[in-house]
């Protein structure tokens, strides 16, 4: 019981003090900046826009670190001096505040220590509060992401009609550079882009689902222990390969091979085909699907296997007639999660897929994907007030909605059929 009193005191002090320190550190910079800028001589900031003010502040900061370029004005040097002093003083203030706070809390905690004080409940309350906080961090982050995404998407739809975006068949995200430019009005129909995503996803699944499934079935039921103990870790390593490496593989090995093979049998093959990007993405997804299917198969009770074997079925019959149907919900859930990964996969397609949106389902053609378009729209110097940039957020929003729906579907399937056997 006594240790709970100690722990209660420690938590009572540590949690507020650490929160206080974090808040202080987060706020110290901006506050000191404000004070420094407010202390500048009057008139020096006249006629500067926000960018100019930032530039002055940056210059003061670099002077305060001793990095002096050219000859700064005297008021900048003075401001830099004040900046350094303010920071030093802030550190001392922090130290003093923390000390006082700690002592106050310590005194408070000490006063609570008594035989009839239920320290364990107090500790448990604090700890469970901390755990609640940790588990909700992800939720609040998600809400924040959705909010910012929604805001930017709304701004996009202020400039481009929703119907044009949802049903348009052209994707040419251009904007006039000057007011008087006539050409390149831009078209923001997302259908060719999502079609490209679908083509690549389908190619990836055609590769990943059979290979992943059969490897799981083999490893789970037929493979000798020794082989399983080698192959399984190797598959898991495959899951850890960064996607950028898969991207290299796609452009340097797979795409040229497909192209030269296609040309040798007289086909017209684009240099960056959906087939290459999707195929390599499929390889990336193999361990994902195989480990899901393996888990699902392993979760089928031994009693089912015994029952099937005891009735005189072969291992193959047992797999196709009992284990596979019983594991199917888990497998379908895994495949759907793989689909949403394929849709959201970026690096492989950025490297290996095309940039031009085409309405085609020919896997030998070059297609682009939603993620590729988001990346190309946001690369480089862009301002966030024109439809070209904002289109990226609209695409991101759609991507989010599509994958969210697939994930919900996957979870529902897994949950609904999970209790088919006990």
């Amino acid at each position: 019981m006594t240790s709970y009193h100690g722990m209660f005191s420690a938590l009572l002090i540590l949690v507020p003090v650490l929160t206080f320190i974090l808040l202080w550190i987060a706020l110290q910079g901006p506050v000191v900046d404000r004070i420094t800028m407010a202390g500048l001589p009057e008139g020096v900031l006249d006629g500067l826009d926000s960018g100019g003010v930032q530039l002055v502040l940056a210059e003061i900061k670099s002077v305060s670190r001793g990095q002096i370029f050219g000859t700064p004005e005297d008021w900048k040097i003075a401001a830099a001096g004040r900046y350094v002093i303010l920071h030093d003083r802030a550190d001392w203030w922090l130290f003093a505040a923390v000390t006082i706070l700690s002592l106050a809390l310590l005194a408070f905690a000490r006063s609570r220590v008594a035989a009839d004080f239920r320290a364990r409940q107090g500790v448990e309350g604090i700890v469970s509060g901390l755990m609640i906080f940790c588990s909700t961090v992800a939720i609040f982050t998600t809400i924040g992401i959705i909010a910012s995404l929604s805001y930017e998407t709304w701004r996009f739809f202020e400039r481009v009609p929703v119907a044009e975006f949802l049903f348009g068949l052209n994707w040419e995200p251009q904007i006039p550079l000057r007011e008087d430019q006539i050409a390149a009005k831009g078209a923001f129909g997302w259908l060719p882009v999502i079609l490209g995503t679908i083509v690549i996803t389908v190619v990836a699944l055609v590769v990943a689902v059979p290979v992943g499934l059969f490897s799981a079935i083999y490893l789970n039921e037929f493979a000798p222990k020794r082989l399983r103990s080698i192959v399984k870790p190797v598959l898991e390593i495959l899951a850890g390969v960064p996607t950028v490496v898969y991207g290299f593989f796609a452009i340097l090995v797979v795409a040229p091979a497909i192209r030269s093979f296609g040309q040798s049998i007289g086909l017209d093959v684009a240099p960056n085909t959906a087939l290459a990007a999707g195929g390599v993405m499929g390889i990336m997804l193999i361990p994902f699907i195989s480990s899901f299917a393996d888990d699902a198969l392993s979760a089928v009770p031994q009693a089912m296997r015994d029952g099937a074997l005891g009735l005189g079925s072969t291992r193959g019959e047992m797999m196709t007639t009992v284990l596979f149907p019983a594991a199917l919900p888990g497998i379908v859930g895994g495949v759907l999660l793989a689909v949403s990964r394929a849709i959201g996969e970026t690096m492989i397609v950025v490297m290996a897929a095309g940039l031009i949106a085409k309405m085609t389902i020919n896997p030998l053609d070059s297609v682009t994907t939603v993620t590729v378009q988001i990346v190309t729209l946001l690369i480089g110097d862009t301002s966030f007030d024109n439809p070209k940039t904002l289109a990226a957020f609209a695409l991101g929003m759609m991507l989010f909605l599509v994958t969210l729906m697939i994930n919900i579907l996957a979870l529902r399937i897994v949950r609904k059929y999970r209790e088919a056997y006990d």
Binding site: K225, P301, A303, M304, R305, D306, G307, A308, L309, G310, L311, G312, S313, T314, E317, T321, V322, P325, A326, A420, Y421, D422
Partner: protein, 265 residues
């Protein structure tokens, strides 16, 4: 010489279905079954009793080679069913298991409909040529399993939705549907309540007319109720094998006596 002839005569008189000679089973380094010899008669219920871990289930699983599915398990010795060595190279364990049905401790219906559960064995062994024939087989098996009246109106519903006792009778019917000659039961009532147990025991007694039934049980009352022959296993040895009445009233081995009176086990 005289002795030999006596054994031969016994075989003829009781119509022996299964003979086991010096059967040894090793699980890795553990010697689970030690030199077991036993004759199991046709159209009889034979009970295996003994304390937990004595090897009775292991021995049962030798009879349909279910132990083959366990990597570290090694079986030696000779087991013959109808004078055919079941461990011989020419015997396909898959065929053997169709001939020697098995019912497990926990009811394990497949997550399929009641109909499909029963039709599972006949389908994989190609016992029926048409749908109507399969329907007949299913009905016959369910009647044999004494569960037909309870499920005839819901054959398309999942077998997992039945009660525990019904599930176990379903599993027995499923095993019967493949038309085995021997039925092995590994503690078939241990997961059931007394009423379901009584129903299953009644069923076992009926099955005796057509099959050689071997049942592993923890309940000595059950062994006394359903079996004609009883084998007592202890620490991997077959201690005593005799008529059930004889074992429970007049055991010849002190270990058997201690067990049935509750002193060891």
């Amino acid at each position: 010489m005289n002795n030999m002839r006596k054994i031969e005569r016994d075989v003829k008189m009781t119509d022996t279905k299964i003979t086991a000679r010096s059967v040894n089973v090793h699980y890795g380094d553990t010697h689970a079954i030690k030199d077991v010899d036993v004759n199991i008669a046709d159209k009889t219920v034979t009970a295996f009793i003994g304390p937990s871990g004595c090897g009775k289930s292991t021995f049962l699983r030798c009879l349909n080679r279910m132990n083959d599915t366990i990597d570290i398990c090694r079986v030696t010795g000779e087991i013959k069913i109808d004078d055919k060595d079941i461990n011989h190279k020419s015997v396909d364990p898959v065929q053997l298991r169709a001939q020697v049905g098995m019912v497990f401790q926990k009811p394990n219906p497949f997550p399929k409909s009641i109909y499909d559960n029963i039709a599972y064995g006949p389908r994989i062994h190609g016992l029926s040529k048409s749908k109507s024939e399969l329907d007949e087989i299913v009905e016959r098996a369910l009647r044999r399993g004494a569960i037909w009246d309870e499920v005839k109106d819901r054959l398309d519903q999942p077998g997992t939705g039945l009660s525990g006792g019904q599930q176990q009778r379903l599993c027995i019917a499923r095993a019967v549907a493949t038309e085995p000659e021997v039925l092995l039961m590994d503690e078939p009532c241990s997961a059931l309540d007394p009423i379901a147990t009584a129903q299953v025991e009644e069923l076992i007694d009926e099955l005796r007319q057509d099959y050689s039934v071997v049942i592993v049980t923890h309940s000595m009352q059950q062994a006394a109720r359903v079996s004609q022959k009883t084998a007592f296993f202890h620490l991997g040895n077959l201690v005593e094998f005799n008529d059930t009445g004889e074992i429970f009233t007049n055991p010849s081995d002190p270990r058997t006596e201690s067990y049935i009176t509750g002193r060891i086990g």
